[in-house]
């Protein structure tokens, strides 16, 4: 007898991970729940993005920046020793090897080019781990734009190195002292600031969240991860397509970009959230930061503060497309604890000589657990996006180890 799989069979890919329905709807999720003052600005970004997408000149300029500045394509690395230990074939998509050290640069270069095309002179960004902030500061410097980055005070402490990097790159870093003083509050503050600066500034959202068109646009700019990996898997894997595609999920941009490359395959998608920031796995329907999606909330409907050792996963919600993929059963969302993530980081360092970002270590921690408890069948092929490198987390790790 065939065991029921823990997830439903993949639905036919048509209709998933394409263009959303009008006003950015992914099923019932998404939308443009922006204050009226930002609606026109969102419409302008949407219009500019659609025009840019249809313009081969834009695609060429972006491809050149990604190649010459960001160092793409990134390799697909077989994790040989770890695969042997785990009894699965694990391949790592190496976003940690991009310039600035995480996948965030893919999205930012796209949006910075778009902003320049729209005649904006400044980028506004929120950041949690600081990786999106560093990427924004980098792209701004490269294209001659200004950058203002909002960052929770608590994150500024635990990611002090990235704060210095942003300032070194010429960006203004604004501490956010309200609420939990992490990513959620930095995002609120960036939105407030944008309301007063729509004329000359572009809000460079760092994940697949926010009002339409951001969830869709950011996924399209991150699609390069999945598209490259698809080609690399076709060349490297006997089966051509991996059995499982795994990525960590904060807002969900590295996962969305990775999944998008495999939407029309039978690969099973797994998004790995932090135990304390599991918007997809444990959130309920709500509206925050411009979109309708799943958010951690208390019994009164107040948003709960997330808690994760990985600042980039410290967000109480998830992008609307992930909420939709979950509802469809096309992807499933699991959680791992801080301890599991730290253990996975150490294991990858010692078996493959790669120190991953703590965010990425969450994805690996699930692979390790699932290989151990049989959820991943022996010999199955697993593509995992290694979203970033661990340099920014060294001081956190030093305190723990």
């Amino acid at each position: 007898m065939r065991m029921a799989p823990p997830w439903r069979e993949p639905v036919p890919a048509t209709g998933t991970m394409g263009e959303p329905r009008p006003l950015g709807r992914f099923g019932e999720y998404g939308g443009r729940y922006a204050p009226e003052s930002l609606v026109e600005a969102c419409r302008e970004v949407d219009e500019a993005f659609r025009q840019a997408r249809a313009d081969p000149g834009f695609a060429a300029a972006l491809a050149e920046l990604l190649a010459l500045h960001a160092g793409r394509p990134t390799p697909l690395t077989p994790a040989r020793r770890l695969s042997q230990e785990l009894g699965v074939q694990l391949y790592l998509k190496r976003e940690d090897l991009t310039h600035t050290g995480s996948h965030k640069i893919n999205n930012v270069l796209g949006q910075a080019l778009l902003a320049a095309r729209m005649g904006r002179r400044r980028l506004i960004a929120e950041t949690g781990a600081g990786q999106h902030g560093v990427a924004t500061a980098t792209a701004a410097a490269l294209l001659g734009l200004e950058a203002t980055v909002f960052m929770g005070e608590r994150d500024m402490e635990r990611q002090a190195l990235n704060v210095f990097r942003m300032r070194m790159l010429g960006a203004e870093v604004v501490p956010v002292t309200t609420g939990s003083r992490t990513l959620k509050d930095a995002t609120s503050e960036a939105m407030r600031h944008w309301v007063g600066a729509t004329g000359d500034s572009h809000y460079c959202v760092g994940s697949v969240v926010g009002p339409d068109p951001y969830p869709w646009m950011v996924r399209e700019f991150q699609r390069v991860i999945g598209d490259e990996a698809r080609g690399q898997c076709a060349a490297e894997l006997r089966t051509g397509v991996p059995d499982h595609v795994v990525a960590c999920v904060g807002g969900g941009s590295n996962a969305a970009g990775t999944f998008a490359g495999f939407a029309d395959t039978s690969a099973r998608f797994v998004g790995v959230e932090a135990e304390g920031g599991a918007g997809a796995a444990r959130g309920r329907l709500g509206v925050l930061h411009g979109c309708r999606s799943l958010f951690l909330q208390d019994d009164d409907g107040q948003i709960i503060e997330a808690h994760s050792i990985a600042a980039g996963l410290d967000y109480p919600g998830v992008g609307p497309e992930h909420a939709h993929l979950r509802e469809l059963g096309r992807a499933r969302y699991v959680t791992v604890t801080d301890e599991e993530a730290v253990g996975a980081a150490v294991r990858l360092a010692r078996s493959e000589g790669i120190v991953p970002a703590l965010e990425s270590a969450h994805a690996l921690a699930w692979v390790i657990r699932a290989a151990g408890d049989g959820e991943l069948a022996a010999g199955s092929t697993v593509l995992m996006t290694l979203s970033g490198r661990g340099d920014k987390d060294i001081s956190t790790l030093k305190e723990l180890l």
């Binding site: 006003l23 443009r32 003052s37 600005a41 007063g196 729509t198 409907g301 107040q302």
Partner: protein, 265 residues
């Protein structure tokens, strides 16, 4: 049977007062901000408020500046919730002028628009403002609110183009909330230049009452705003005083200065 196209109690009240030539005053208070906070409502009404906006605090008030953020945090820290605030209002009874709740859409969705609107009505609240619910997303709430007898007032901003302004004015109930400037709530040194222009544009497409809000902090600004719009909303200037410890009597005196300024026109 309810005619869902008809305006409700808030709009009838505001139109009637406006038609006597009176400039309208709608002060704001964050629900649950202090123990006994409903005494502010009586004080506001005595000072000549025409309606009162009651904020239902949300953990992530993305369109509010520091003052209302702090007021929301203070209220939540005291254990305020939609349910408790509405219970306080029900207990306080009729204060003599319509009450208009304002909150973020997450709190409306929490129990669903129907249950939310029904709860407002049970507490004696006749109007609603949801700053993160723009007109193109409001379809889920407009019909439900109208059927429940809650006037859902929509916001217009200086960046709103004319066709949208027409739609907002058509679908808004109670009044049209004119956001005076491109920014968040909070006191400002002067009335923004965009205020007059926006009000003129709204008036050219509707005869619904137009209330100007965001940044109006002083009698002088209220008087100037009253020249363009049918009235003003005053939030942060009230809440800064409340956060600094001012009681109902102090606020009655402050609002009386605004009332006099509006009446001088």
């Amino acid at each position: 049977m309810t005619n869902i196209l008809a305006a409700g109690a808030v709009e009838r009240h505001l139109r009637a007062r406006r038609d006597t030539g009176r400039a309208l005053l709608m002060p704001y208070v964050t629900g649950g901000v202090t123990p006994g906070w409903t005494r502010y409502l009586t004080a506001f009404a005595e000072a000549g408020a025409d309606a009162i906006e009651v904020g239902l605090p949300f953990s992530d008030p993305t369109l509010d500046g520091v003052t209302i953020q702090q007021a929301s945090e203070a209220a939540l820290a005291r254990g305020a919730s939609t349910r408790r605030i509405l219970a306080d209002l029900a207990e306080a009874g009729d204060v003599g002028v319509p009450l208009v709740a304002s909150t973020y859409y997450n709190l409306v969705l929490h129990d669903g628009p129907e249950a939310f609107c029904a709860a407002l009505r049970r507490a004696g609240v006749d109007g609603l403002i949801v700053p993160d619910l723009p007109v193109h997303e409001a379809g889920e709430l407009t019909g439900v609110a109208a059927a429940a007898g809650v006037d859902l007032a929509l916001l217009a901003s200086p960046a709103t183009p004319r066709p949208r302004l027409e739609e907002i004015s058509r679908r808004s109930r109670g009044f049209v909330y004119a956001v005076s400037l491109m920014g968040t709530t909070g006191e400002r040194a002067a009335l923004a230049a965009s205020a007059a222009e926006l009000t003129t544009r709204i008036r050219s497409v509707t005869d619904r009452p137009v209330l100007l809000g965001f940044g109006i902090s002083t009698p002088g600004q209220a008087r100037e705003a009253g020249r363009h719009a049918d009235g003003v909303v005053v939030g942060a200037a009230v809440m800064r005083r409340v956060l600094d410890g001012a009681g109902p009597d102090d606020l009655r005196a402050f609002l009386a200065t605004l009332r006099r300024a509006l009446d001088q026109e």
